[in-house]
């Protein structure tokens, strides 16, 4: 008997003929928040992870991205140091920044910073969701450079994790990001930045 047949057979034997019927109670709806409250909550929760949140009007995104890069990289960075996800609108990009050209993933480590959009953002938990689309970029892009700058638009912000899942494609490669890389493995003291980006900047437009 193949392992597959045997394991499935064991499950059927274990459960027997009278399988329990279980009612799953409805999952409570997240709290309802006005759009402005949603953005405030997102900003508060992202900052709680010791990430930087810069809020701006939709037409101020380009200048705010530059300000975020100044904060994260110090002055003196060159646009060539910042790699941009291919779907990021031209207006948001620092002029002269290269687009991800599909080079072998490990060579992305040479860049100092990455600029992407997001697929959704969760206010309650301060979570950004990247979905591997051109706007979010492939997974390695938001992983290897030490600084990650994400632009979030107001319409992308949802209250809770279940809302975000409802907007996402379950078969896309998804990454949920809540603050910069962190560890609590040494005496449970949180240290930001182990293997992923050590600095996260969120530009919240709207």
């Amino acid at each position: 008997m193949s392992a597959r047949e045997e394991v499935l057979g064991r499950i059927r034997t274990a459960l027997g003929e009278h399988r329990p019927v279980v009612d799953v109670p409805p999952v409570p709806a997240p709290r309802s928040l006005a759009p402005a409250e949603l953005l405030d909550l997102l900003a508060e929760r992202v900052e709680d992870y010791r990430a930087t949140v810069l809020r701006c009007a939709p037409d101020e995104v380009p200048a705010t991205v530059v300000r975020g890069l100044d904060l994260a990289l110090g002055g003196g960075w060159a646009p060539a140091d910042v790699v941009v996800a291919p779907g990021v609108p031209a207006a948001w990009r620092p002029s002269g920044s290269p687009e991800d050209d599909g080079r072998p993933a490990v060579r992305l480590a040479a860049f100092a910073a990455t600029l992407t959009g997001v697929a959704a953002a969760v206010a309650e938990t301060g979570t950004l969701v990247l979905d591997g689309s051109p706007l979010s970029g492939r997974r390695a892009l938001s992983l290897l450079p030490d600084v990650l700058v994400c632009v979030v638009e107001a319409a992308q912000v949802v209250p809770d994790v279940p809302d975000a899942l409802g907007r996402l494609d379950p078969v896309a490669p998804l990454t949920m990001v809540s603050g910069p890389s962190a560890t609590s493995d040494i005496e449970l003291q949180r240290v930001e930045g182990v293997h992923g980006p050590r600095t996260l900047v969120v530009v919240l437009a709207g």
Binding site: V7, I11, T13, G102, L165, A172, P173, M176, V191, V194
Partner: protein, 502 residues
């Protein structure tokens, strides 16, 4: 169920009480890390003498209990969420075969390959062959309970393949030639200066001036592993969840080492216990709320990776999913004990357990320590192979209170104790004592006499709250570690009679 060619032992405690014994194979002996070399009391006696260990554990569990309580209190509907999680798990187990078949169809449809493993030995063989086929002699690993359970690192090493743990705590344990002592924070028993010593001793080219500041230690690990990540061609991970209807796998982590392993190598092998499947995509909405708050005490962990099969141009192009039984179906066969399969490995029960806090994880002898380990390990191995674990609890119920999927751990502990007692060819001293007690308690005259006899204890106690004397053997096994309270001056029956006579 098993063929004669199958070396896997049957559950030794047959037949089981209250349930029909089905003869389903438990996790085999001689492979993996579910059985300790000592019983819990013997191992605990050693760790209780280690003052450093107790100090490290006490500090860590106090910190994490506080963090968890704060973020759980933020969620007004936490109890409803918890009951939804419990019901979802129970519903999934009731149709486990169908969900696994659906998962296999979906993963295969998205370019992945699904393998089935009856036990640890078979899973190790499958993974070893998959790694060999790539021609690589090293793999990077995402922290995973399933691969620790089956002893995959040792199996790979025996095959000449080096497995590098990339989670900081797992790395500390691996470099220190130690074993993990906590599900979530495997190096919880080490403090910063002990970790610095391990790094200074084992990391080639590490700065000799390395201090014990956690940031410096984390950065040393970053430097040490960076090059390994960038050159790795094969990664091995576990899975926190797998969605049957979409074929989506999920790994929850903090450091980004998981993302490195799940993204950069060409080949990814994921080993997953069969109980980790969830039926629908939306079910993740419940568990992704319950897990981070219960485990690290965060609203959400820094990184959650979700993938389905293979995505051209993004991440591994060769994906294998190994579905592991290793005694899980034997657990499923026990209608009371099967709830242990609901565990989402958050480790909240460890952090609140007074027994774990003092004895430490190594005393449990299994990769699953603490309250959940005390019910899961004996069921996976057969109770007689871990017979002391169901007793490694005060039955205080704190574990049940914090469990995000409301597993009734105390009831399963009692159930397993009964199973162990019934499996004995001769009655234990405890069984004899309780049989005697039951005779006395069911006869009013005997009970009255016994209570009068207990009055003697007051004389012996001379006003102290506990009796100074230990009982003679075999009852001394009980009194060696416990105080006997002084009996009350008047029994309940006496008080009742006096009050109602008026």
């Amino acid at each position: 169920m098993t063929t004669s060619a199958d070396p896997t032992p049957l559950a030794p405690g047959a037949p089981r009480s209250g349930t029909t014994f089905l003869g389903l194979p438990t996790a085999p002996r001689g492979v993996g890390h579910l059985r300790g070399t000592q019983s819990f009391p013997d191992a605990a006696r050693t760790s209780l003498r280690d003052g450093q260990l107790r100090a490290n554990l006490g500090r860590a569990t106090t910190t994490i209990r506080g963090k968890r309580a704060a973020v759980v209190a933020e969620v007004p509907h936490w109890e409803q969420l918890r009951q939804a999680g419990k019901a979802l798990k129970a519903a999934t187990m009731a149709r486990l075969d169908e969900h696994l078949e659906e998962l296999e169809r979906q993963v295969t449809a998205r370019g992945g390959t699904v393998h089935w493993a009856r036990d640890a030995a078979e899973a190790n063989r499958i993974v070893t062959e998959l790694v060999r086929a790539t021609g690589s002699d090293e793999v990077v690993k995402v922290k995973s309970m399933a691969t620790q359970e089956i002893g995959l690192n040792e199996a790979l090493e025996a095959a000449g393949i080096e497995a590098v743990e990339t989670d900081l705590a797992e790395l500390i344990v691996q470099l220190g030639e130690d074993s993990p002592s906590h599900i979530l924070v495997p190096a919880i028993h080490k403090n910063r200066s002990e970790i610095r010593e391990i790094f200074r001793r084992t990391i080639p080219g590490v700065d000799p001036g390395l201090t014990d500041e956690p940031r410096q230690l984390a950065m040393a690990a970053r430097t040490h592993l960076r090059e390994r990540f960038l050159r790795a061609r094969v990664a091995v991970s576990g899975a926190n969840f797998a969605v049957a209807e979409t074929g989506t796998l999920a790994v929850v982590e903090s450091e980004g080492n998981g993302r490195m392993c799940l993204t950069l190598p060409q080949t990814l092998v994921t080993v997953m216990g069969i109980e980790k499947v969830v039926p629908r995509w939306e079910d993740l909405g419940v568990f992704l709320q319950l897990l981070p708050r219960s485990s690290t005490g965060e609203r959400m962990n820094p990184y959650t990776s979700l993938w389905a099969g293979v995505t051209p141009g993004d991440g591994p192009q060769d994906f294998h999913l190994v579905l592991l039984d290793n005694g899980r179906t034997a657990v499923l066969a026990d209608e009371v004990g099967r709830e242990a399969l609901h565990c989402i490995r958050c480790s909240a029960c460890l952090n609140v357990c007074p027994v774990y806090e003092r004895a430490g994880g190594h005393a449990y002898g299994s990769v699953y320590p603490g309250p959940i380990g005390a019910v899961l390990s004996p069921q996976l191995t057969g109770v007689e192979d871990n017979a002391s674990l169901p007793y490694a609890s005060s039955l205080c119920g704190a574990c049940y209170d914090v469990c995000p999927v409301a597993i009734d751990i105390p009831s399963i502990l009692v159930h397993l104790r009964a199973e162990h007692v019934e499996a004995q060819p001769r009655p234990t001293a405890e069984a004899v004592a309780f049989r005697g007690l039951s005779r006395v308690m069911s006869n009013p005259r005997l009970w009255h006499l016994a209570q009068r006899a207990a009055g003697l204890g007051r004389f012996l106690a001379r006003g102290r709250p506990t009796l100074p004397a230990a009982l003679p053997p075999p009852a001394s096994a009980w009194t060696r570690t416990r105080d006997l309270p002084t009996p009350p001056g008047r029994s309940f029956v006496q008080q009742w009679t006096e009050e109602h006579r008026r």
